[in-house]
Symmetry: C2
Subunit: 642 residues, 2 copies
């Protein structure tokens, strides 16, 4: 049940889930409390005074008995268990004007696959189907070969003709047919052929039509996700993930391509990711107590490099001009051929790529989000190492990779890190004192800052007027938090005694430059693509955010720094892991499986570095939020009001 | 240049090739000369007197100086080098009446594949085709993926669309395309798809369209034949054969099936035949200096058991009632998957079988001989371990396996052997003295009798009235050649001192029973099938003999013993190795490759043991030539005249 939390003296009330952490509640409410240990409870700065209601919190040596009685609590240690009123003590107080000017922006919730809606649209129709057959047993009067008996049965019972047959099936056919007196279940694949004649994939003894499972896989450069699908019921049974085993050979696609050129490099990378996929599948099957034999196929989405590496196709030309991938549409191949521990009859179907840097993950997301069939002009954004964007509607689609670099994944940032335990994610800075308040993942001592943390930090530093629009720290502030360093100036988020490493945790102007270049590349990408189709940002009717990154992104802060366009917030939607979602949809819908290549072919790729105007847009965007204020009306207005 | 040989006192003249062996000439002319050492020259019995002309022959210790001067020669040692007249000495003389009553019958010559005729019929159109493409090189303005570039090229240059792609191709694509500046040759497969859209099989750098080869394979229970085909020129380049490596595990299909049921038995047999095929292919490639990479596909014909074993499909049910094969039409499969040392992209296409005992070898022969498109009522006969027969025309085909057993391959015959060195093949017996005259393969001391030798022997024993029509030796002949033995009576073909083994070489009444059962099964098969379609033997307009056995068969003798029907001799044709020929035709003709399954499906199989009338026909045929004389009018007439 929701609880009401009121912060005084601001008189801000927010509804939260029962048991929510109070420091996080304050952050979400836009209420600043100094707090620089990430939530571990050791700095003792996040004091609040409980005025009404109950908080569940341990006693702590950082508060005296007297303070406790007066209602002092450490916000980071408290869980909200009733409606409460808390007061921010004077040392954390902001001007009311400062605090009310905005709330920390909305985090979007990922959308989920709605099988019921698919069914309504007639799209729930898996390309793999099981058919139960009662065949007449063989006798001296009727001793045609087993395979013909099966074919005749499929023809008589289901009108199926001219099936394509999988050779391997023949080896188990005789045994399987006789196991339950010529009652069998055939698995048919309608995916490989454009014609109406399916491929006969597998045969099982007896009636197994209600046991029919598939796998959807998303191979990310960092993480491999697998969903286990029940095709008979039309359900996602579960999902699991693991780090891509290729991480040992390089963090990003370029370093992987470099590694692939070494002796046995390609083979090593192929095996590494296959092994990861095998492990995740094993985990899922165990968890859901399924036999691997019950899997009939696997659908896959991945960026172009990951696709090449998984299939064992040399990705060399992806990073050599003119940047041609070898295959954007990889023909179906037996999973075992690629080292996956799946039944012999399981084939892999992967989503087509568009170009070297707009891969199957993006096409999959475009499928999952439905933009290819949507009349609304949509901007689809996937921010990862490269930000990829797609703009268009049901009639046309343009796309590009933005070479944003890995800054938003923490790459090239001194204390940047992945979104793991100890990463600062939510942050606020007191504009008067420049004192920070933040929460780390796991609420432990801070180790570094993850991508969403960097966006939030940049936004609050800028909005607090601590950072100038050109990305330089103000020199006139009386705070030890800003100081000179080897790389210009830096801001100290946490002091050595508050951090996991025991050294000061800072963000430097060089870090900020990297972040600004990344966000400028993205923004220049939107504008350049729109220019090329004669449209403006305001014409965008819908923005879809995808990717693991989008999972945790703070919309308002992302707009504030100029990473996302300043459009009405209700136009933004978050599709979650669009790549994985698309792969799952392909397994659920034969039509989409047939459509995917068409959608990829529909997407006109722009090489931004070769596209006129891009460089100008890029340079103009190297500012917070942008040199042209008209692109960011609400931010400009807020900054002015501030 | 042909030479004329005249035999006196019979005044029989025959034209022969220059250099022909004189004993063989006599056999072919139907002139008897006692000769029982097989042609090795050691018995000294085959004396003739040279009256005119020249004979090339060594001096021999078996003739005195005086005899030599009188013109005596050993026929088996002489080569005809001019027109000659020779006289048969009194000890070999037959009644003129006996000798003139017939010549030893015609041996049919195998027909060959006539590519020119195929072209005329529009059938020369291999399902695998090479296309040379000049693709525009990749550039920053045009950096679509390599595979799409290839597809676009095929579309633009040849109007090809919606190709099916072979996954493995993708791994070599980038390298191959850049080897000769985006000039490539694509290999396309029109066989796997019923639609007009081919499968893209392989790609090579540069223009290799004139280098395009394929293999046709016939897996016999005993022998594996391979033909090497030039698809660019439309030629059979060469052929080679070897014994099927499975021979170590059993001589016939039944013993192979039994072996396959042992632990690892199936795997052992599969590997054995794959190894044989590999060896024969190696031999051919070496001989014709071809690279294995230039092979694009392999077509295969074999009997049902051999097909199952080669594909690694358990053949168990072939010999268990109700005798169902697992697959009569085996889907195409990668050659490497079956252990063949061929390029990754090579698939195997095999001719469909009809039933457990009417296999792809027979269907292949039916294709090769064209009976499925011939208005003439045709009887197609393949005599091997099982005799298989097909009757019909372009509208219908019926077929059956006759369970003739291996007698005509020498199986179950005391001195039966394969057609190898030392096997008696041509034979005559002096009806007055019961003395034999024979030639062995290689003209060495006799070791045994091969299938064609057995037929010839049976015929001459019967026609010489040494053997009664019921298969018993006459008891009233004054000759040491016929004697009692453990198995009734036997006829001595060669005495111990004349044979390779040093023991008497005989044929027993038990041997003769076996041969009679075999020929009776065949004949009963023809008549039973014809009965079932309401036709008579005389309605047969064409008889096609196929199989290795047919290669050496003596037509007249085969009719004489009742193995073949007594029809006008000009209705008989010999197709040679019909199975191999059919496999080759499939490689040459896409239409036939598409047709083959239809032809197999067209063939209605009769299980003779289950077919009413068969047993009666069989019992009636256990007689030489047959209990019903009207079936064998010319033989009956000749015997009466004799």
């Amino acid at each position: 049940m929701a609880k009401k939390v009121t912060f005084q003296p601001y008189n801000i009330t927010i509804e939260v889930e029962d048991g929510e952490n109070l420091l996080r509640v304050a952050l979400n409410a836009g209420v600043h409390i100094n707090a620089s240990c990430g939530g571990e409870g050791v700095c003792g700065k996040c004091r609040v005074i409980l005025e009404e209601g109950q908080l569940e919190c341990p006693e702590t040596s950082l508060l005296t008995r007297d303070e406790w009685k007066l209602g002092y609590r450490q916000a980071c240690q408290c869980r909200v268990v009733s409606d409460i009123v808390v007061r921010i003590p004077p040392e954390s107080l902001l001007d009311k004007k400062t605090i009310t000017r905005r709330r920390t922006g909305v985090s979007l919730r990922p959308s989920a696959i709605d099988v019921a809606a698919l069914r309504e649209e007639g799209l729930y129709d898996p390309a793999f189907q099981k058919k139960f057959l009662k065949l007449p047993p063989a006798s001296l009067d009727d001793n045609i070969c087993d395979l013909s008996r099966l074919e005749q049965g499929l023809n008589r019972q289901f009108g199926l003709k001219n099936l394509t047959l999988d050779f391997l099936l023949t080896r188990k056919l005789a045994r399987t047919m006789r196991q339950q007196d010529f009652q069998v279940t055939a698995t048919l694949d309608y995916a490989q052929r454009r014609s109406r004649n399916p491929r006969l994939v597998d045969i099982e003894a007896g009636d197994t039509a209600d046991r029919h499972f598939a796998l959807a896989v998303d191979i990310g450069t960092t993480t491999v996700w697998v969903q286990l699908l029940d095709l008979a019921q039309g359900e996602i049974i579960g999902q699991a993930a693991d780090y891509n085993g290729q991480l040992s050979y390089g963090d990003d696609v370029i370093s992987r391509i470099v590694y692939s050129q070494k002796e046995k490099g390609l083979e090593t990378l192929q095996k590494a990711v296959a092994s990861t996929i095998n492990n995740v599948i094993q985990t899922l099957l165990k968890r859901h107590r399924l036999q691997v034999e019950e899997i009939s196929h696997l659908t896959l989405a991945a960026n172009t490099t990951m696709t090449h590496l998984f299939y064992g196709i040399d990705p060399k030309h992806i990073r050599l001009a003119p940047y041609t991938p070898t295959a954007c549409h990889v023909p179906p191949v037996r999973a075992r051929h690629l080292g996956l521990e799946l039944p012999e009859h399981v084939f892999i179907y992967s989503v087509s790529s568009v170009s070297s840097y707009v891969g199957g993950d993006i096409v999959s997301g475009a499928l999952a989000s439905g933009i290819y069939k949507e009349p609304k002009l949509t901007l689809y954004i996937d921010i990862g190492t490269n930000g990829e964007i797609v703009i268009g509607n049901h009639e046309w689609l343009v796309c590009a990779a933005c070479s944003a670099g890995p800054a938003f994944e923490g790459g090239g940032i001194r204390f940047g890190m992945r979104a793991a335990k100890g990463a600062i994610e939510e942050v606020s800075v007191n504009p008067q004192t420049a004192e920070p308040m933040f929460v780390t993942i796991g609420m432990v001592k801070p180790k570094g800052i993850c991508g969403s943390g960097l966006i939030n930090l940049l936004a609050v530093l800028m909005e607090g007027n601590i950072l100038a629009p050109n990305g330089r720290f103000r020199e006139d502030l009386d705070t030890p938090r800003i100081r000179e360093c080897e790389e210009g100036r830096e801001y100290v988020l946490a002091w050595a005694n508050e951090t996991a490493s025991g050294e000061d945790l800072t963000i430097t102007e060089v870090d900020i430059d990297n972040l600004m270049r990344a966000k400028a590349a993205m923004f220049a990408g939107y504008v350049t693509l729109l220019d090329n189709v004669g449209l403006k940002l305001q014409d965008i009717e819908q923005v879809i955010l995808a990717g693991a990154f989008g999972n945790f992104i703070n919309l308002e802060n992302s707009i504030a720094i100029g990473l996302l366009p300043d459009l009405p917030r209700d136009r933004f939607h978050f599709v979650g892991n669009g790549s994985l979602m698309g792969a799952t949809l392909l397994a659920f819908s034969r039509e989409l499986l047939e459509e995917e290549r068409r959608v990829a072919d529909m997407m006109t790729n722009f090489e931004l570095s070769e596209t006129p105007g891009f460089m100008d847009h890029y340079i103009a965007a190297l500012f917070l939020p942008h040199t042209q204020e008209e692109y960011f009306p609400t931010i400009t207005e807020r900054l002015r009001a501030g």
